[in-house]
Symmetry: C2
Subunit: 207 residues, 2 copies
């Protein structure tokens, strides 16, 4: 079975038989070049038209138990939530989405800026704020240097909040490994959304 998670920057494929994942750029890739059946989720409005009329591309949006989520919630966040019964998902892509699941129920979540957007935004304010982040900073004390002050404002508040619930933390998305040092107790799960997509497929008896 071939799964695809389409985000703002890439098509992320997972071949469940070969247990292999790979990426194609969102701007360049032609979905009609794929001949086999693909179960997909898509949050990128720019690629929607390319998928129209392709019968082998099956949108999982129609098979979600929407009453458990909310109407405008990103399908990628839903797939991540479907993958767990208890915990916090931190999906670090162009945005960092954070979602809470307790006893198999979605309990809300939020949307934070992604790493690249944060870097770009600090740089845009002033050259004095064009600093790299210190992913190894200590979060238990208020910073007394510029790099840590920026890192704390950009990512420390986020990591702090995620930890404060005492739930298992699952870190996924393209920037998961980079962020890992700030999320010390987190498990990095690069294929988490595909696990959620497989659950949606099973529940809907599509396969």
């Amino acid at each position: 079975m071939l799964l695809c998670d389409i985000g703002n920057t890439s098509y992320h494929f997972y071949d469940t038989t070969a247990q292999r994942d790979y990426k194609e750029t969102a701007s360049g890739f032609e979905p009609k070049s794929v001949r086999e059946q693909v179960f997909y989720i898509n949050v990128n409005p720019a690629v929607g038209s390319r998928l129209e009329g392709l019968e082998n591309w099956i949108d999982l949006r129609g098979y979600v138990a929407w009453e458990r989520y909310y109407e405008t919630m990103g399908i990628d966040r839903i797939a991540a939530c479907e993958a767990l019964t208890e915990g916090v998902v931190v999906d670090a892509g162009s945005a960092i989405t954070v979602d809470f699941v307790r006893a198999g129920r979605f309990e809300g979540g939020f949307i934070h800026l992604g790493l690249s957007a944060l870097r770009h935004a600090y740089r845009g304010i002033s050259p004095k704020l064009d600093s790299s982040f210190n992913f190894d900073m200590q979060l238990d004390k208020m910073p007394k240097n510029t790099t840590d002050a920026i890192t704390y404002g950009a990512l420390g508040l986020l990591a702090d909040k995620v930890h404060s619930f005492g739930l298992p933390v699952y870190l996924t998305g393209g920037d998961a490994s980079t962020l890992k040092p700030l999320f010390q107790t987190a498990r990095v799960e690069p294929l988490l959304l595909f696990a959620g997509m497989q659950k949606i497929i099973q529940k809907a008896k599509l396969c």
Copy 2:
């Protein structure tokens, strides 16, 4: 006495005699057009050269007790800290700086993106994230709609952290009034930095 706080977007003047404050744009204003003595702080590298050689413009940077702060700390943050003996300063300009003072000592702080940079950055990720913020949102529950999910990621984490210390909160800077609903216990103090500048002037016996 005329005071001036020069930021990334404006010259903010305060006339202590008339008790009147006013702003000039950072890009257009010519400091040499002011004839009287001005005590100033400046965090905008782009205007530094315009101030050179102007003898009536007195930079307060040289009169700060730097050993209480750190070398690359913005002089605006220092001026804000000088204004209080206990509390958290949230200075909401192009960046939002947050600084902690206990028993008259600076105890660290951090640098968050400002409101305009946040709006611009969410919009840049995806048109789906081009949402206005809900400044009246409740911070005690995880959001279940897109506007609140974005507001919480952008500003809720920040407001939550600031409140968590149980210290008095002083909200200043151009976006202070806009942010006020999210910082319920905060006092809006538009002239806080000028109070700090006056303390620096008094300690250094400049006036």
